[in-house]
């Protein structure tokens, strides 16, 4: 443990799990899609569902989707900021089942398509991304993260991994569309990949998303 974690971080109140943690989940989504989406839906579960207005969790989530910094004082006004940026949003309370009480599912509509990410705020600003487009995972966002939509064919994974120079910390993989024979590969890396464009040149790679690790201290 680093003592800087104790004397910080600088953030927006009132609660590290209800504002900072929530915002980090939606900021992960922002970084992944690399843009401000046209439309976003937040499915609020558990304690998030019960108290999100009183804790400002809704404003923090919106601010994250807009890509604001964690200590930006405009987080409080993220509704009007979202309106200015033409981002439509809605908040829906749901029961997501057997997950951490502070969990949200985020559905975004971008120029290119739709994504659905689920994450939990587990305390002190720490998070777990637990699902990306139906692939279960467990990302604390402490690593550089690469998400690759690839053809589900023999040898695809080894071709992808052979282009990887950085050390691989964790790997999650699942077939997501049987008809189109696609799979999503999620890789946590010790350092950022050097040749991202080369990866896209592989015929088995359809789409590629890179989220650099989050230094929130």
């Amino acid at each position: 443990m680093n003592f800087l974690q104790i004397i910080g971080p600088v953030m927006i109140g009132p609660s590290s799990s209800h504002t900072l943690g929530a915002m980090r989940i939606s900021k992960f989504v922002h970084k992944m899609i690399g843009e401000i989406p046209k439309y976003v839906e937040f499915y609020m579960h558990g304690s998030f569902a019960k108290t999100f207005k009183g804790h400002g969790t809704d404003r923090a989530l919106l601010a994250g989707i807009l890509g604001l910094k964690y200590d930006d004082e405009r987080i409080k006004d993220s509704y009007s900021l979202a309106r200015k940026m033409n981002l439509e949003c809605s908040f829906i309370t749901v029961d997501l089942g057997n997950v951490h009480p502070n969990t949200v599912r985020i559905k975004v509509q971008t120029q290119k398509g739709q994504h659905e990410i689920e994450g939990s705020s587990v305390g002190g600003g720490a998070i777990r991304i637990i699902k990306i487009d139906n692939v279960e995972c467990e990302l604390a966002w402490e690593y550089d993260t690469l998400m690759i939509l690839n053809k589900d064919e023999p040898g695809a994974l080894s071709k992808i991994l052979s282009r990887m120079e950085a050390n691989i910390a964790n790997l999650f993989l699942k077939r997501i569309n049987l008809l189109q024979a696609t799979a999503l590969t999620i890789i946590e890396l010790d350092s950022p990949p050097e040749r991202l464009d080369e990866l896209l040149e592989l015929p088995c790679v359809l789409e590629c998303y890179f989220v650099p690790k989050d230094d929130f201290l």
């Binding site: 003592f3 800087l4 009132p14 009183g54 200590d71 004082e73």
Partner: protein, 287 residues
């Protein structure tokens, strides 16, 4: 990590305590001491800036359960408090009310206890004219005290009650004051131990689960506890029970606290009639 390990290392290598903390952090995770110091400076600057901007300001919080305490207190002519305590109390109220109003804060050690250490730092700077460099050293030492508690107990009210949040903040603030005024690490450990003993067993019982009641006033009271324990330690008063043992006791107390008293909003003052009525009233409008 035990605090006594740091103080014995201090004797062995004959370096001031804040340098020992940086060194031991480097040995633990490879952090660069210069970068650690720079980041601590950034955090301190943020604290002082937040205190200055919010001092005595009225705030509009999300639930409306608080927001005008700092303003009210800042216009009061204190009857009993001296200048240092009064200034620190206004600051603590100001910062923690800014937190409840979605303002910028430093979670030192947590958002719910974010008024205590910054209030002490700001009072030391403004009233005692302590230099920024010296405050950075003291914040590093305070961080080490907090880390010892975090590793043995927790700094989360949901895990070990408010003793872990406000208690830790108070220990850190008193350590900061003693270190910046004396550089004496033994006295630092006595101040921190006296602080923790004063708040041992404090329960976490926020009304409705929101960080407002009782958190706001607890921050303000806590900085006064930190001032008294620091003053006692400075004059040479000792904690009979050493800091590391107090921290272990705190962990045992934390484990025996029932769930209702650990941030669930189900026990303590959160379960009073007035609290339930208040929640009923605001629930329809804003939650």
């Amino acid at each position: 990590m035990k605090f006594s390990e740091l103080t014995s290392m201090e004797e062995k290598i004959d370096q001031p305590l804040h340098e020992v903390v940086l060194l031991s952090q480097m040995l633990e995770d490879g952090s660069d001491p210069i970068e650690l110091r720079n980041k601590t400076r950034i955090i301190l600057d943020a604290m002082l800036d937040i205190c200055e901007k919010n001092y005595g300001r009225a705030q509009k919080t999300l639930t409306g359960l608080c927001g005008d305490n700092a303003h009210l207190f800042s216009r009061w002519q204190p009857q009993m408090m001296g200048e240092f305590n009064y200034f620190a109390t206004v600051t603590a109220l100001s910062v923690i009310e800014a937190n409840a109003a979605m303002g910028r804060i430093v979670a030192c050690p947590t958002a719910g206890s974010c008024g205590v250490v910054p209030a002490m730092a700001y009072a030391l700077r403004k009233i005692k004219k302590i230099s920024i460099d010296c405050l950075v050293d003291a914040l590093i030492v305070a961080g080490a005290v907090g880390k010892c508690i975090a590793q043995t107990v927790s700094i989360s009210g949901a895990v070990a009650g408010c003793q872990a949040e406000i208690g830790t903040a108070t220990a850190m603030a008193s350590a900061m004051a003693v270190y910046s005024l004396s550089k004496d690490s033994k006295r630092v450990s006595h101040a921190a131990a006296l602080s923790l003993k004063s708040l041992m067993g404090l329960v976490c019982d926020p009304v409705g689960g929101f960080v407002e009641i009782p958190c706001v006033k607890r921050n303000a009271v806590a900085v006064n506890i930190a001032i008294s324990t620091a003053e006692m330690a400075l004059c040479g008063i000792r904690s009979v029970i050493p800091l590391d043992e107090v921290i272990e006791a705190m962990a045992r107390v934390g484990r025996s606290l029932p769930e209702e008293l650990r941030e669930t909003g189900l026990g303590g003052i959160a379960s009073t009639k007035t609290a339930t009525d208040l929640l009923e009233k605001i629930r329809g409008e804003s939650l």
